[in-house]
Each structure stands twice: as C-alpha cells, then as structure tokens.
C-alpha cells in the first residue's frame, strides 16, 4: 500500500470525484474545507448576534431609562441587562472566538498546510460541526424559553446558576439551555481536538517535519491539545451542575442559602468554589484556545508581508507550547478573591506572571520579523499589526491583575473587562480578520477589496481602543462590571461621560463592521479573480488552485523541501522560495 514520493518530485494520483448532490456537497459534507466554511459562517452569524447584544448593553449603560420597542414593559430591567451580559459573553467566547479561528480556519487550512487530503477522520469532523451547530441552536433557544436568557454570566457561577427559577427569571429554563448548550459544545470540541491532533501527527506530507510546520499549524495543534485536556473538565462540571439543578444533588450548593427571603432546603454541604475550580481549570486554557490560533496567523501574515522569515522560528514554536503548558497552571488567578490561601495565591501569581516570558518572546520576535522588512501594508498585514498592538496593550494589564494585592482592588471591575476584551476578545478578532483577508482568495477564488479593507481596519483599530482604553479608568475608579445602571451609583456618576464616549465609539465601530460584511459578500460574487498565489507566499496552501479541489491538490501530492518562511533568501531570484519547490528548481540570481 505504499506509493513513495520518489526523489524526482511528488506523488501523483488520479483526481478525486466530487460528491454530487447539494446535501452531500454543502450540508452533510465530510470535506474539511466545506466544514471549515460552515464553522466560519456559524461564527459570522454568532458574532453579529454578539455585537448586537453588546451594543444594547452599551446603550443601556448610557440611557438606562430609554424606552425600547422590543423590550416588554418598555424599559430594560436589570435582569434583562444581566441576560445580555451572559449571552454576549457566552456567544462570543464559545461560538466566535473558539469557533472561527480553530473550527473555521483550522479546519480549512491545517490539512492543506501540512499537505494532507483531508482530516484524519472526516466523518468525525462533520459530526463535530453539527454538534456545535446544535449547541448554537440551544444557546439561541435560551432567548425564547419561558423566563428568557440566563443571568449568571458566561462563567455560570454557582449557587446563582444552580438553584433554578427562584434566583431570577432566566435561571429556570434559560440556565438549563445554557448548560445543555455548553455541554454539547464541549463534546463537539473534544471530537474536533482529537481530529486536529491525529491529523497533525500522522498526516503530514513527506518532508513536513515538525520544525517545518507553519506557525499557524503550531497554533492550531497546541490549541487542540488544550481543548482536548480542558473541555472534558467543563463537560464534567456541566453534568454535575445539571444534576444539582434537576436532581437536587449537592455538588455545588451549600446549606442555608436564602433567596428572596426563602431558605433553600433541598441542598446541603456543596461547594460553590468547586464549580469555580472546575470552570476555570477549563476557562483559563480557553483564553489561550481563543488567542493561540491568532498568534499563529499573526506570525504567518507578518512574515509574508514583511518579506522576511519569522524571526526565531523555533523560539516561536516553543513559546506557543510554553504558553499552552503554563496555561493549565494558572486558573487560580481568576479566584484570588475567593478566600484562597495566600500561599496558593502567590504560586498562581508567579506562574501567571511567568507567562509574560513566552508572550514577550513572541512579541519581540514579531518586532524582529518586521525589522528591516520590505513591509507591504495590505489589509491582512494591517490586522496582523493590530493584533500585535492589541495583544501588547491588553497583555500588560494582565501583569497587574496577576498580583493578588492589586487584583483585590480591581477584581470584578471594568479594569478586568478592559483587560480581557483587548487581549483575548479584540486581539483574537483581529487575528480572525487577518486570516479572513489573507485566505479569502484561497477559500473563495476572489480577492477582497483593498481600500474597503483598509478603511475597515482603521475604524476598527481606533474604535477598539476608544472603547476599551477608557474602560481601564472606570475600573480603577471602582466601577463594578455587572452593574446595570452605573449612573445611579454616587461615586461613579461623574464617570458617566466616559461611558457615553465608549458607547458612541462602540456604535461607530459596530457600524464599521458593516463595511466588512459588505466587502465579504460583494467580493464573493464580484471580486477580481485570485491567482494561485496572490501574496507570493511560501506555504503549501498556495501550491493549489483557488479554491482548492476536493482532495486539496488535485491528485498531486506535494513534498516539502524547506522551512515555511523562506523569504528574501540571498542568492535567490525571487524574494520567496515556496516549501514545495525542489532545491534544483529554485531560480538563482544570474
């Protein structure tokens, strides 16, 4: 069963037949490229929902007494505001930041970039997507079940999330739907992670050693390992929480809880902190699940448009691994104020700050990659640069929050909200945008509009800073993150104009995303045709047609002869040498 890549070139087979019929081809497809686009479109839908929710929140913070046509009773209640907070966070973290970079771009490009015809287990891949889809339907259903959406935040802290309807309107059916949705999402992500890891280990093309993998592949690979080890823990927590709610067990609910003057007698002895430990053991790796693929994309795009090899490729790959490894040991920093022992707090603090080391390695190597490069400011490059900027701005505040003494002050304030939105939210979104502008020609065979992309970048970049930088000041002043109406709090009233500024910035930035949506759908139909390799890039996805055929390389299978970022090699005629070009075929300067 062997057909070796012989010395002269790559293996050739007859091209594969495409499935006929709409359903096999586009709905229940086992083609990783179709599944990747399905994940991407799911995330695109989710991000629209998430943005609308956040704009409603921003609106309410500034005009809490406004009459809204779609709210029963006219004015938004505090519970409805908390439902917005919960659903915004849940949808954005799970169905956008986890789904788009990993499920979307990872699915589409990991097999192509390692020279494989598909994922290792294509049917399992299809199953992962459809379970994710089901999870998304469940979370949306939380809006329409009796009582509406849950109010316990994306972290679902117990006992609020464990006692049922008595703790709030959305805590009955809505919270149950939330748990079911998250559990399904965990299951789907576990199946997906399995596929990513097995594919990377066993399906690489001849010559694609680990240290020749593009950094994007490193990002997806390590992210999959994090997902594999983290999602099972949240799934277990979700099952226990569901039992607490529906079978009256006492895993997380202590005795003697009084809600609305009623003593809750069904539970005793449970530990709310146990839920926090299980949740954050998943939750901290989760933030790296969101950001590591973005780091990979940023490295990839910076190198391509600076026309320079990634500075310190090995260090970059090791730094991704180090971040992933350390990510499992720092969950306690979300719980500094939970009454944890100062010794534990100190350990978590030191470990957390040590993540600054690999993060700094990455940042300086990005700068090193740019240094002296022939930089081309194309849309993907702008977003990759934006990623680096936002990662630094958001990451630095993490060093403050990593210290228990400082965190005691800042915990549950807007400072934390500003921190994680910059470093994990917007930075990851910039990674997604960079990936979209970069790979759109490969995925859809057409180019996106450059001027529109640049306008979109500047509005989004400046807008994101206008929204989230002032938020730090509100946090330092003591602004509590989940208050529905800060204008009613005396010591915060004078900061209301800051909230107004942020809300206006949010609406402008939100509107700028319409430019992206227009550009995306317009280019899909009317964009200029893309060539095989429009960016003169070096990795395997640019060795095939745009869009790639069903088996990725049209019956021909690439061999790999060099590292992924051979730009501006001295003595070479072109300023890039692709991974698939044989050494004897490389054109030299005459």
């Amino acid at each position: 069963m062997s057909s070796h890549a012989h010395a002269g070139g790559s293996t050739v087979h007859a091209p594969m037949a495409e499935p006929s019929g709409f359903i096999r081809k586009y709905i229940f497809s086992v083609d990783h490229k179709v599944i990747g686009i399905q994940y991407f479109l799911l995330a695109l839908t989710a991000v629209v929902v998430g943005i609308v929710l956040s704009l409603l929140m921003r609106f309410h913070l500034v005009w809490p007494n406004a009459t809204l046509p779609f709210v029963s009773g006219g004015q938004m209640s505090q519970e409805q505001y908390l439902a917005l907070v919960t659903m915004h966070g849940t949808i954005m973290v799970f169905f956008v930041l986890t789904t788009a970079p990993q499920g979307g771009f990872g699915n589409y490009f990991l097999p192509i970039q390692i020279g494989a015809p598909d994922m290792a287990f294509p049917r399992l891949n299809m199953l992962s997507f459809w379970v994710t889809f089901l999870a998304f339907v469940c979370i949306l259903a939380a809006f329409v079940v009796p009582g509406g959406a849950p109010i316990s935040g994306w972290t679902g802290y117990t006992p609020l999330s464990g006692l049922g309807e008595i703790t709030g309107p959305g805590e009955g059916w809505g919270q149950t739907m939330w748990i079911v949705s998250i559990s399904l999402f965990c299951l789907a992500s576990l199946l997906g992670a399995l596929n990513f890891i097995a594919t990377t280990i066993d399906l690489r093309a001849p010559g694609m050693s680990l240290m020749r993998m593009p950094l994007t592949v490193w990002g997806w690979f390590v992210t999959a390992i994090l997902g594999l080890l983290a999602f099972g823990v949240l799934l277990a927590g979700g099952i226990l929480l569901l039992l607490d709610r529906s079978a009256n067990t006492s895993f997380f609910i202590p005795a003697g809880i009084v809600v609305n003057d009623q003593l809750q007698t069904l539970h005793s002895g449970g530990s709310p902190l146990l839920w926090q430990h299980l949740f954050w053991f998943f939750g901290h790796p989760e933030v790296y699940i969101a950001i590591l693929p973005g780091m990979g994309v940023a490295s990839h795009v910076l190198s391509t448009f600076a026309r320079k090899p990634v500075y310190g490729y090995r260090a970059m790959a090791y730094a991704i691994c180090a971040i992933g490894f350390l990510g499992f040991m720092v969950w306690g920093h979300h719980m500094f104020v939970s009454g944890m022992s100062p010794y534990s707090g100190f350990a978590f603090s030191v470990l957390t700050m040590s993540i600054g080391v690999p993060s700094a390695i990455k940042t300086f190597n990005w700068l090193g990659t740019l240094w002296g490069g022939q930089i081309q400011f194309k849309s993907p490059m702008l977003f990759a640069l934006g990623f680096v900027s936002l990662f630094v701005s958001g990451g630095l505040s993490g060093l403050f929050l990593a210290q228990p003494a400082v965190d005691n002050m800042l915990h549950a304030t807007y400072y934390v909200v500003a921190h994680f939105h910059l470093v994990m939210g917007v930075a990851a979104i910039f990674g997604i945008f960079a990936a979209t502008y970069f790979w759109f020609p490969k995925m859809f065979g057409r180019m996106m509009n450059e001027p529109l992309g640049k306008i979109h970048f500047w509005f989004t970049f400046v807008g994101a800073y206008c929204i989230f930088m002032p938020m730090h000041f509100i946090g330092i002043a003591g602004g509590i993150r989940r208050y529905a109406d800060a204008s009613a709090v005396g010591f915060l009233a004078h900061l209301q104009p800051v909230h107004e500024f942020m809300t206006i910035a949010a609406f402008i930035t939100g509107a700028a995303q319409l430019l992206f949506l227009f550009n995306f759908f317009y280019s899909l139909k009317f964009g200029p045709k893309a060539s095989k390799n429009p960016w003169n890039a070096t990795t395997l996805e640019w060795d095939t047609d745009s869009p790639p055929p069903i088996d990725n390389f049209g019956g021909h299978y690439p061999s790999v002869y060099r590292g992924p970022y051979e730009f501006s090699v001295p003595g070479a005629a072109d300023d890039f040498i692709p991974q698939w070009v044989e050494p004897s075929q490389v054109a030299r300067v005459k």
Partner: protein, 220 residues
C-alpha cells in the same frame, strides 16, 4: 532536504464508486472502520491508534474532573458526607471486568496467530463478560435503591451514581465496539486496526474502573 522525511506514505486511491456515491472512499469516524468494500485506505492505519490515544487522554481528563471533585467535596467542612457502604456485588463485577481484559488479550494473541476461530471465541467471551459487568452494575444500583439510597440522598451516593453511570456509559460504547468487530469489521487490514483500537479502549476502561472502585472503596 527531503532526506529528513518524517511521515511515511499517505496513500490516496481514487473513489471507484458508482453514481450517487462519492467523496472520499474514507474511513472516517470512530476508530474501527470498514463497511467500505473498495479496499482503499486513505488514512494510514496508525492514525486510528493515535486517535484512540488522544481520545483516552480526553476521557481521562473527564473522569479526573469527577475524581478531583470527589476528593474536594468529601473533605469540605460541613460536607454532610455519610460514607457509602459499597454494594458487595461490585467485587464480583470488578473481577468480571478484570477477567475480560485477560480474555481480550487472549483474543488478541489468537488474532495475531491467525487463528480466527479462537479469536472469535475469546472476543465473544470478552463481550459477554462486559455485558455481565454492566448488568451487575445495574444490580448494584437496584440494591442501593432498595435501601432507599438514591442519587440525591447524600453526596457520597451522588458520586457513586455519577462514577458508575459515566463509566457504565463508556463501557456500553466499548461493548458496541466489540460487537461491531465481531460482526461487521471484515476487511483484513482495517480489522487488525479495529481490534487494536478497541482493545486499547477496553483495557483502559478496565483500569479506570479498578481505580474508581478503589477510590469508592478505600477513599470513602
């Protein structure tokens, strides 16, 4: 340098299906493949072994989350914990499951010796032992229920039902896989892989149960 080739061959054979079929002649899915008579293998067989290793790591994390919750919850101040008298039948069940690992190993070696008859015999024995184990677990549940000990009676009983339930569900999956290999996996190469992968899963579930049993028995 192509000299540093790490991976071996990835064979791709064009789909030779009739009209209406199509896509990959893929063996996607769940470890054991088959049901595809084209004889084509797109994915190297070792990917299934890798996949099972990865799946077991994920499953281990899932159970360890329960285990850590058990350890934390048991020693909480005011935990209201009443140690659970583990039903006696669990000893028998445990012996059955350990025995099934031995019969499975026997089946495996029969398969390696190309003794199909012997393989089928020992493989079926393993399946029956597995079914007896699950039946025994259900019996243990019924005994507890007869004593009035239910899921929500005490945290110790909650964990007992969670551990046995989650493990039982995983073992049922293993039984289905055993049955699948017995009756469906017919292609030579894929069958060997399926046997390998299912064996890994079964031995893991056996070891996991012994651990959980010791935890429930000694750590109560």
């Amino acid at each position: 340098m192509p000299g540093t080739i790490v991976t071996e061959e990835i064979e791709l054979i064009p789909s030779d299906r009739g009209p209406g079929g199509g896509g990959f002649s893929g063996n996607g899915g769940d470890g054991g493949d088959g049901g595809d008579s084209s004889g084509a293998t797109r994915v190297p067989q070792r990917a299934y072994i890798t996949g099972m290793f990865i799946a077991l790591a994920g499953i281990l994390m899932f159970f360890m989350a329960f285990v850590s919750a058990y350890i934390v919850r048991k020693d909480m101040p005011n935990s209201a914990w009443v140690p659970l008298q583990v039903p006696r039948i669990l000893w028998l069940n445990t012996l059955l499951l350990i025995a099934s690992s031995f019969t499975l190993a026997r089946a495996h070696s029969r398969f390696s010796a190309k003794d199909d008859e012997g393989f089928r015999h020992w493989w079926a024995t393993t399946t029956f032992l597995g079914i007896f184990f699950v039946a025994g677990q259900i019996l243990a549940w019924r005994q507890l229920a007869a004593q009035g000990i239910f899921l929500a009676t005490n945290p110790s009983s909650s964990f007992f039902y969670v551990f046995t339930g989650a493990h039982g569900a995983h073992l049922l999956g293993g039984i289905l896989a055993l049955l699948y290999v017995q009756f469906r996996a017919t292609r030579k190469v894929a069958r060997g892989t399926a046997i390998e992968v299912v064996s890994m899963y079964w031995h893991f579930m056996d070891g996991l149960w012994v651990f959980l049993f010791l935890l429930l028995y000694l750590g109560r």
